[in-house]
């Protein structure tokens, strides 16, 4: 693959793909080029386990025909191979059109052109610093984690960066050219309790930002190491969370998982148009309390709240702010162009693919609950007695709205006061039920987006997404744990 030596070399290739596709009979063609660099550094105890650099450069072509789509891709920019790629996409689209009974056509629109302001400003781009600079960040986090931890059996430090060019054109003559970027510094400490159980503590700082992030308050490698070490130490004395239904205060990051996993996926247009989502046909209905507002936004105020910079999706649509749930009322779904047209809504800029090897599908950008009015103290007071659940190691949701998330740690709260730490615990329930039990939200909005982790859907894994919110007080949540 010829990469970026002349700014319009790849654009010409993409335009050729569009032209070829149309000549072969496609009604509409989209062609995109990704040229992405991914770097992963992982140190486990005193050994560097991973020093990895991945280069993802390739072209993906979507051809539309008769309300169906065909997709193909190649890692080559050889003319013959590009022709084969376009040909495969056209043939797939035509074969699919014969059996497609639900058509996802869309109207033509004026061409889109990206702008200078679509470049996210940063002081120290990760591409400008050498490997030694980045390994030192990891070393500093691990050294501090060891200082603050206790009974440590394993300490792991990780640094990740993903950046590069994304170029897009289509049959409308759109030209969208922007740079993706996300960085992540994380530390995990595993400690052994007296009874031989293993417990964890995690710290991280991340998002679309320059490396200057790791020089700011609460985000230095030392802050990250301290967080991981001290939380693992605290977990040594934590008890298992009792199983059952309790009131809950849910911390920002975990609230983000609720917004993304439990609600966001249900609002994605592809599952709505086929009736697979319980949100199908429910626009205008009250699903939650007044405290529950959820938005998806490709370009939030990252310096203030954090998050991921996604000015355009992989169909060249601007990823503007979409209010999905407005004070408890369902307002919008998250769309690609086809699902938006089918449901008579505007496209929302949510058609995304992990990289050139995958067809873009409706995915989220930054999805979060909006903040409320409570201070932390007022939130604890409102909680009264229950579980304060913090951070997360992941979550999953079913198409009926059922969810399960794991909180990395937490506290048992009694009469508005934090009483004692509790171990890793899972929260489960149904999102539609949970939204009707949101009693209040704190003032502080935080959005988190990382290199490690990421969203998985339809065989496309680890798509960076932002998620977050304030802290939420929930009337009742089912906690896993130990039944007596």
């Amino acid at each position: 693959m010829h990469v970026n030596s002349e700014s319009d070399y790849m654009l010409e290739k993409l335009e050729k793909c569009v032209e070829l596709g149309e000549k072969m009979g496609a009604r509409f063609v989209e062609a995109r080029f990704d040229d992405l660099i991914l770097r992963t550094l992982q140190r486990v105890n005193d050994v560097w386990k991973d020093i990895i650099l991945r280069s993802r450069a390739g072209i993906g072509v979507v051809c539309y025909y008769g309300g169906a789509s065909g997709y193909s891709f190649t890692a080559s920019d050889d003319g013959k191979e590009l022709e084969n790629t376009v040909s495969r996409a056209v043939k797939m689209a035509k074969a699919s059109a014969k059996v497609a009974s639900l058509k996802l056509d869309f109207d033509r629109r004026p061409p889109v052109r990206s702008r200078e302001s679509d470049i996210f400003p940063m002081k120290i781009h990760p591409g400008t610093k050498d490997l030694g600079y980045k390994t030192e960040l990891v070393n500093r986090a691990i050294d501090t984690a060891r200082e603050f931890g206790s009974n440590i059996s394993n300490v792991t430090g990780m640094y990740g960066e993903l950046y590069g060019r994304k170029l897009f054109t289509n049959s409308e003559g759109s030209i969208v050219d922007w740079n993706f970027e996300v960085i992540d510094l994380a530390c995990r400490v595993t400690s052994i309790t007296e009874s031989g159980d293993l417990v964890n503590g995690i710290g991280h700082a991340r998002g679309t930002t320059g490396l200057e992030l790791f020089g700011t308050k609460e985000s230095t490698p030392e802050d990250i190491g301290e967080e991981a070490g001290s939380h693992a130490k605290e977990q040594l004395k934590a008890r298992a969370c009792p199983a059952g239904r309790f009131r809950a205060l849910i911390e920002n990051e975990l609230v983000g998982v609720l917004a993304h996993e439990s609600f966001g996926h249900l609002s994605e247009g592809d599952s709505v148009v086929v009736g697979g989502s319980p949100l199908t046909g429910r626009i205008g209905e009250r699903l939650g309390t007044d405290h529950a507002t959820i938005v998806d936004y490709g370009t939030p105020n990252i310096p203030e709240f954090g998050g991921l910079w996604v000015p355009y999706d992989d169909q060249g649509t601007r990823a503007d702010e979409t209010t999905i749930l407005d004070k408890g009322i369902l307002k919008r779904y998250l769309h690609n162009r086809g699902t938006a047209h089918y449901l008579k809504q505007e496209p929302t800029g949510n058609s995304r693919a992990v990289h050139f090897g995958f067809i873009p599908i409706p995915r989220m950008t930054n999805t979060y609950f909006t903040p409320g009015e409570l201070t932390k103290e007022e939130a604890l007071e409102l909680l009264d007695t229950g579980v304060y659940a913090i951070q997360t190691s992941g979550g999953q949701v079913e198409d009926n709205g059922s969810f399960l998330f794991r909180a990395t740690r937490g506290y048992w709260v009694q009469n508005g006061r934090i009483k004692e730490p509790i171990r890793e615990v899972s929260l489960s329930g149904n999102i539609l039920n949970l939204l009707s039990k949101v009693e209040g939200a704190t003032k502080d909005l935080r959005i988190s987006a990382g290199y490690f982790g990421g969203c998985g859907k339809s065989g496309q894994f680890r798509l960076p997404c932002g998620l977050g919110g304030p802290e939420l007080v929930i009337g009742e949540v089912t906690f896993g744990g130990k039944a007596s």
């Binding site: 020093i51 280069s55 789509s69 997709y71 090897g357 979550g395 615990v425």
Partner: protein, 463 residues
């Protein structure tokens, strides 16, 4: 590229790539991995069709010099792209001194194992045939009955292979062709929505899609009318093969990895020879099962794949290793180096080597599902499909908490009614000791675990 000459072409490129690497640095040791796969897939959901076909190709290079190792990968297998990886990996080594004294070199040449079963019918599958398969499964599900509201189906066919070469003189390759399909049906009644799922995956024959749509629909409908368990308690749980496979894959599949053992994250690290499970449990990892989806002649670093007994009648027998961790542990590789979890990493060249089971097999017992249910005194929970959240469990703590969506109440030896989702939690490792029985209904699953139904005691249930 054709299937017949795929190995020759990949090995020829390996040779060229290694020669180039030697010219850049003749003191360093190099390993080059190439992957090439033609993949076609079709999904139909309620009449919305998406189809794709493309060639997944890429290279990965590891370089070692004076106990420092680095990794770089690129999409594409042209010599230009291989050069890029070689140069990037070398640049990493040159820019920072990162020692790993435990790294003793790449895999030495050995006689390869066998490739898995192969049928050329998979190579000949056309996109129209894949679309037909998917459409027929969807139609079957939709026509099953009125309460089936949404049906989605997917079919895919892939063929390809990989080659590994290194400056120790190793140059080996392996090929496979696999086709698979899956269908899910959502049954709706009032506010209640239940999902049923069926699949087929094989390398020996063409997929059999007939009946799968109806079975998935039947399963979804059978879960309607669920009642609330309405208590927090401890009960026996009966895990049908799909859910049992998730259990085994997440627990032993991870904790038996030599990486977790060496790095202090496996709670069974010190337990070789000890009883870690009920004596009814025997588990083998079989990288040479001809029908196994992950069966190859070599693993991802070129070591021959083999058969390894992990648990023998309840006793921990052996861990899984690649060359690196085997050396640290003081053992031999078991041919378990891997670059992918098939479902989540379709671009395996991007993954640096890690240890993964190939094809886990749980030895079946003598009772079928009805007998297992009949043997229950009092109440138990029958878990039909894999519980959500189970894959987010933590290998080091072994504690899990998952929500079982597709569940039935079992009472005094009889299957009663479907239940609303229940949270199941406990410790994987305590669970293995509290295993009550192993069924005879052996099934291959999408998680590369072949298992019958397993019955456990002692897990917390919240419903």
């Amino acid at each position: 590229m054709k299937y017949e000459n795929l190995k020759d072409e990949l090995l020829s490129t390996i040779d060229t790539g290694l020669k180039y690497a030697r010219t850049v640095d003749n003191e360093a040791e190099f390993e080059l991995y190439l992957f090439y796969q033609n993949r076609a897939g079709v999904s139909i959901t309620q009449g919305v069709v998406e189809a794709s076909e493309g060639i997944i190709e890429g290279n990965a290079v590891r370089v070692m010099r004076q106990n420092s190792v680095s990794f770089a990968s690129s999409s594409g297998i042209s010599i230009d792209r291989i050069r890029r990886s070689v140069n990037e990996a070398l640049a990493s080594l040159r820019s920072v001194s990162i020692k790993d004294e435990r790294f003793k070199g790449f895999c030495k040449p050995k006689k390869p194992g066998r490739e898995g079963a192969f049928t050329s019918k998979i190579l000949d599958l056309s996109k129209e045939e894949l679309i037909d398969y998917a459409r027929n499964m969807m139609k079957e599900g939709q026509e099953f009955e009125k309460r089936i509201k949404t049906v989605g189906s997917e079919c895919s066919a892939e063929w390809g292979g990989f080659a590994v070469g290194n400056t120790q003189g190793l140059q080996q390759a392996s090929r496979s062709a696999i086709n698979s399909c899956e269908v899910y049906c959502i049954a709706v009644e009032g506010e209640e929505r239940r999902t049923g799922y069926e699949f087929d995956i094989t390398r020996e024959r063409l997929i059999r899609t007939g009946g799968l749509g109806a079975k998935a629909a039947q399963r979804a409908v059978s879960l309607l009318g669920a009642r609330k368990l309405n208590k927090t308690t401890v009960l026996p749980t009966i895990w049908e093969p799909m859910s049992a496979a998730a259990y085994i894959g997440v627990s032993l599949g991870q904790s038996a990895s030599g990486q977790h053992v060496v790095e202090g994250r496996s709670p069974i690290a010190e337990k070789v020879g000890e009883e870690i499970a009920n004596s009814k449990l025997t588990i083998i990892d079989n990288g040479q099962n001809p029908s196994g989806i992950n069966t190859d002649a070599i693993d991802a670093e070129g070591y021959p794949q083999q058969k390894t007994t992990l648990v023998n009648r309840g006793k921990l027998n052996q861990f899984l290793f690649d060359t690196y961790y085997a050396h640290i542990y003081g053992s031999e590789s078991t041919g378990n180096c891997s670059r992918r979890a098939r479902a989540t990493h379709p671009f395996p060249y991007e993954t640096s080597p890690l240890i993964r089971p190939k094809n886990l097999e749980v030895k079946p017992g003598s009772k079928n599902l009805d007998d297992l249910i009949a043997s229950i005194d009092g109440q138990a929970i029958l878990i039909v499909d894999f519980p959500i959240g189970i894959f987010h469990s933590n290998v080091s703590t072994g504690e899990f908490s998952a929500v079982a969506q597709s569940v039935f109440l079992v009472e005094n030896g009889a299957k009663k009614w479907p239940l609303q989702p229940v949270a199941v939690s406990g410790s994987f490792y305590t669970g293995l000791k509290q295993l009550l029985d192993v069924g005879s209904d052996l099934k291959t699953t999408v998680f590369n675990v072949e298992t019958p139904t397993l019955v456990f005691d002692g897990f917390s249930i919240v419903g």
